[in-house]
Amino acid sequence: MPIEMSSRRSRITDEEINELISKLQSLLPESRRRSTSRASASKLLKETCSYIRSLHREVDDLSDRLSDLMSTMDSNSPQAEIIRSILRS
């Protein structure tokens, strides 16, 4: 196999990187407000970090609320039956 062909296959193209960056950017909340021009690498990293932190906080909050709810649940409650039916499936 010619060397040129194998190196072309194994290099990650600019197109692939750009696609990945676009995908990530489309998930970030601020990207909806911004124009379609690409943010800088540092801006992307900053917003990604900030978004991940806010998702972590949401999970913490939801965990708190779930645990409150579970502590008041007894085995006869409809919630317990929902849990059992999901686990059976």
Binding site: L20, L24, L45, L55, V59, S67, P78, I82, I86
Partner: protein, 201 residues
């Protein structure tokens, strides 16, 4: 971009298994311990429902560090525990992407330093570039990616963010379902129907 239905199913199962396990010892747990148990269950559920990524292995490994957590994890995951903590082999793409990132970082820092650096001051004395700092911050947030850079790092990050969003979404749905059932809204539906609509068949 969304997580798949099989992810949803696996996530819910593992989360609820963890909830049930912790419910057994609820009476003896403090409020904080109960919250941590649910949070732990949610993270384990997310990592195992996704599986096969650097971040999933990193997360399970991180969560297993404490002995008490490890036995809890093994209870929830059963035989999957071994599979999820197996080290994975780096992909051939990684060395290539490091080169690209290093090349672009060198170009960026050279440009920045030419604008900012006073004559005679070494660039090594100056603070690291914003990109490096923030890359390190990202690596602290995404589990298991310490050794990655460039394409691989972004790829894992994207996957992790998608999974986090799914985790939030599903926990929200679960809460809503429970709260609705508390209000007796389910009394009119049969349970199998309710379950089917919940997991979105």
């Amino acid at each position: 971009m969304q997580a798949t239905k099989s992810f949803e199913q696996a996530f819910l199962k593992h989360l609820l298994r963890g909830c049930r396990l912790s419910a057994v010892s609820y009476k003896s747990m403090s409020l904080q311990e109960r919250k941590s148990a649910i949070k732990l269950s949610a993270d384990v559920a997310m990592a195992s429902a996704r599986g096969g990524r650097k971040w999933t292995r990193g997360l399970i490994t991180k969560l297993s560090k404490e002995d008490e957590h490890r036995s809890f994890l093994q209870l929830i995951l059963g035989t999957e525990y071994g599979r999820l903590t197996k080290p994975c082999h780096g992909s051939w793409k990684i060395p290539r992407s490091k080169k690209i990132v290093r090349r672009s970082l060198r170009v960026c820092s050279r440009r920045k330093n030419n604008l900012r650096a006073p004559h005679g001051v070494k660039s090594s004395v100056l603070a690291r570039t914003l990109v490096e700092k923030r890359t390190h911050a990202l690596k602290r947030l995404v589990p298991g990616v310490e050794s990655l850079d460039g394409y691989s790092l972004l790829d894992e990050t994207l996957d992790y963010v998608i999974s986090l969003r799914a985790q939030v979404d599903l926990m929200q749905k679960l809460l809503t379902t429970f709260e609705a059932s508390k209000l007796g809204a389910l009394s009119k539906c049969t349970l199998p129907e309710r379950k089917a609509s919940f997991v979105g068949k």
